[in-house]
């Protein structure tokens, strides 16, 4: 009697304990088992992306299916993880020694991940198979740490100026001649303003919607804060002038007007550019898809960013994502084969056309620009986006001070709120970042 009881106790405890373990199993195991039969003999690789939306997921899964059908050595399995989780999960998986085989990651911190040995050094593959000239050089350079690449550029973006042609016409500006310099931008903005009493029926232009102050600094300087030797330079007379110029727009329209427009933009219902209440805005080319969906009748044009002064260059800003192999991945050769496919002309063109997204592969970008699947407006925007890549700079984070922007942004906030002058904000940023670099050295 006693024995049976103790046996039951132990059994109960064991069952309780083991049932707890079941919690660790992922629900995807069942799917895996179903697929198992036709993956025999193949190398199965796990591909992590954050593309789970109803638009993007079918596109990436079609690309994967095409790859799986095109050969019988490798079977790629797609795992979707939300944008907020994917890279912390990846990091944990790398630390645990069981990483995915290919991951989509942020291009700007690729060198940092290379330095920390989170991503695999790709030079072993590139020596045999140099694909670097497929991509825009600016993108490729962002993947390098000490001369070696740690990720392959997948997609990218840029910033262009959208303007309302009807509004231009209404105030007597030539809709085919959008502003090309900051002076013109300011002049046109003033002309496009439509005021009734204290309120604005239409705002010509506000530089800090769509982009931040940093894009304007980049545009004016034609280069990043850090030079190749990692010297940091922000406290310059030119930057002071740029900041004051940006703030002059805020002072002209007034805090309340800016805030209420900002709220409309943030709420993503009734964007003032769609309703004609805002005549010009700097945005990514993909902004076009919103115009296409919500403001079909809008008569708009798109142009590169105006330049600081004539001859200064229409420098714009971009980012993007790379496909990389996490350190410790089990089948790097298979991962590399898949990455090669993913960044080759065919897959990249498909992605570009279906998503209306800038891609890293030059040939694919150019062939997408010729695509017959776009409407007339679509083609116009896409061609401008591709052209704009030559003006587009990336701002990869320097490995010496990856969080440098935490030491600049707060000062800029204070400046735009009026509690610091431009000079003070720039001086403080300069010292703070220099201290950070010194501390990290």
């Amino acid at each position: 009697m006693n024995k049976t009881r103790s046996f039951i106790f132990v059994l109960a405890a064991l069952v309780l304990f083991l049932s707890g373990c079941a919690g660790f199993q992922t629900s995807s195991n069942n799917e895996e088992a179903n697929k198992e039969e036709n993956t025999e003999g193949k190398t199965v690789i796990d591909f992590w992306t954050f593309w789970g939306s109803e638009i993007r997921r079918p596109i990436i899964e079609k690309m994967i299916a095409d790859f799986n059908e095109s050969q019988d050595e490798i079977e790629v399995k797609h795992t979707y993880l939300p944008f907020g989780d994917i890279w912390t999960k990846e990091l944990a998986a790398i630390a645990a020694g069981d990483p995915p085989d290919v991951v989509i990651n942020d291009i700007n911190a690729t060198a940092l991940r290379g330095q920390k040995e989170q991503a695999m050094n790709l030079s072993q593959f590139l020596e045999q198979d140099d694909i670097s000239n497929r991509f825009y050089p600016e993108l490729w350079d962002a993947t390098l740490y000490e001369g070696d690449s740690y990720g392959v550029p997948f997609n990218t973006d840029t910033r262009v100026l959208f303007y309302n042609k009807d509004a231009f016409e209404e105030v007597g500006l030539d809709p085919e001649n959008p502003p090309t310099t900051w002076a013109e931008l300011e002049e046109y903005a003033a002309k496009l303003d439509k005021k009734s009493g204290d309120n604005y029926d239409r705002i010509g232009f506000y530089p800090l919607w769509g982009v931040g102050y940093d894009v304007w600094l980049l545009n004016a300087n034609g280069q990043n804060y850090f030079d190749e030797q990692n010297n940091f330079q922000i406290d310059t007379a030119k930057n002071e002038e740029v900041l004051n110029w940006l703030k002059s727009f805020k002072d002209r329209y007034g805090e309340d007007v800016i805030n209420s427009y900002q709220a409309q933009i943030d709420s993503q219902q009734g964007h003032p550019f769609f309703s004609g209440d805002l005549a010009m805005i700097v945005q990514q080319p993909t902004f076009y898809t919103q115009i296409r969906d919500y403001a079909q009748d809008l008569n708009f044009g798109v142009v590169e960013l105006p330049e600081y002064e004539e001859g200064n260059g229409h420098t714009s800003w971009g980012g993007g994502f790379v496909a990389e192999i996490p350190a410790g991945a089990k089948n790097p050769e298979a991962s590399w084969e898949f990455i090669k496919y993913l960044t080759d002309v065919e897959a990249q063109t498909y992605w570009a056309v279906q998503n209306f997204d800038n891609v890293a592969n030059i040939e694919a970008a150019e062939s997408a620009a010729e695509s017959t699947e776009f409407t007339e407006d679509g083609t116009m925007v896409y061609q401008k986006a591709v052209e704009n890549m030559e003006h587009t700079l990336l701002t990869p984070v320097p490995v010496i001070a990856p969080d440098f922007s935490s030491f600049i942004n707060p000062n800029m906030d204070e400046f735009f709120l009026g509690s610091m002058t431009a000079k003070e904000a720039l001086e403080k940023s300069q010292t703070d970042v220099e201290n950070l670099i010194k501390k990290n050295q």
Binding site: S6, A13, G20, W87, L112, Q118, E255, A263, S267, P402
Partner: protein, 303 residues
């Protein structure tokens, strides 16, 4: 046979251990293990993937002497705790006193005030971002009916932390429930005796209700103090890009720690930060426990 028969007592204690075994294993593997590891790693330059070299007290020294953001984040967190803990405690007591009345429809109001505690997370923060919008938000709209020109809430560094405290006050329903339960447990005899002695409502509240619920107040203060120091999500969701802006006014301790760990990959440094926070919270809790006998009254306690 050299086998000794186990006594009943020993057997029972073995059964006991078997039953708590899942918890013990879980505790060792998922709490104590990481705790010890993070303490050890806080003296290294651990970056999760490639390095873990002993650097002595360099992380701690760097935090105290060279890192201005560390002090900013500590100040922000202390500010938040110093205001949110007393205010939410008072708010919850006040609310539960109101909801402890015997009037028709009181269940409806209790449910209503408890609802925010059920809703939680990112959805609520998004909702509050809309409510607190300076131009179009409901809060400023209501203020404007009374002729008050509302502040810029989440866009003005002086108002961001008050905004969060304000938001926290809205969701005191959780602790309100604790107070309400404990208020209803107060013996009616005490009130009747006080009434006979001629005590008015206020005196009854301050001399009977409050002393009788001090154990719950104590519990609430300790837990919300610890919770307050861990504020993270609110700032991560409600500031632009999760940066803790404007002007670093929402850069709370845990947000900065998270950034060091997962965007700069300075895991050793972040672990050092977590131990400093642990020490701070530990001392505050000790002080709380030491002060408790002076004001917390347990029923049936020998005096």
């Amino acid at each position: 046979m050299g086998k000794k028969r186990l006594t009943m007592r020993r057997k029972e204690s073995i059964y006991g251990y078997i039953f708590v075994l899942p918890w013990i294993i879980g505790f060792l593997a998922f709490t104590a293990g990481p705790l010890v590891f993070s303490f050890a790693a806080s003296f290294t330059n651990y970056n999760i993937t490639s390095q873990m070299d002993f650097v002595g007290g360099e992380n701690y020294q760097g935090l105290f002497t060279e890192d201005s953001l560390f002090w900013t984040s500590l100040w922000n967190t202390l500010y938040f705790v110093a205001f949110s803990v007393p205010l939410t405690t008072l708010g919850a007591i006040f609310l539960s006193a109101l909801l402890n009345q015997d009037i028709p429809g009181i269940r409806f109001f209790r449910t209503l005030y408890y609802l925010p505690a059920v809703l939680s997370g990112v959805g609520v923060y998004m909702l509050w971002m809309q409510l607190l919008d300076p131009g179009t938000g409901m809060v400023n709209l209501v203020l404007s009916w009374f002729g008050i020109d509302g502040p810029n809430w989440l866009f003005d560094p002086d108002w961001t932390k008050p905004s969060l405290i304000f938001m926290k006050l809205w969701s005191v329903g959780g602790s309100m429930l604790l107070y309400l339960a404990s208020m209803q447990g107060v013996s009616k005899n005490l009130y009747e005796a006080a009434e006979i002695d001629g005590a008015n409502t206020w005196r009854k509240f301050f001399h009977i209700t409050i002393p009788m619920i001090t154990p719950v107040i104590f519990f609430d203060v300790v837990t919300s103090l610890i919770g307050g120091f861990q504020i993270f999500q609110e700032a991560y969701v409600m500031s632009n890009n999760g940066e803790g802006g404007p002007a670093n006014s929402l850069l709370f301790y845990n947000l900065y720690m998270w950034k060091q760990a997962f965007t700069n990959f300075n895991m050793g440094y972040a672990m050092a930060m977590s131990w400093i926070l642990f020490v701070i919270v530990f001392f505050l809790t000790i002080i709380n426990l030491k002060l408790a006998p002076r004001w917390v009254h347990y029923e049936g306690e020998e005096k």
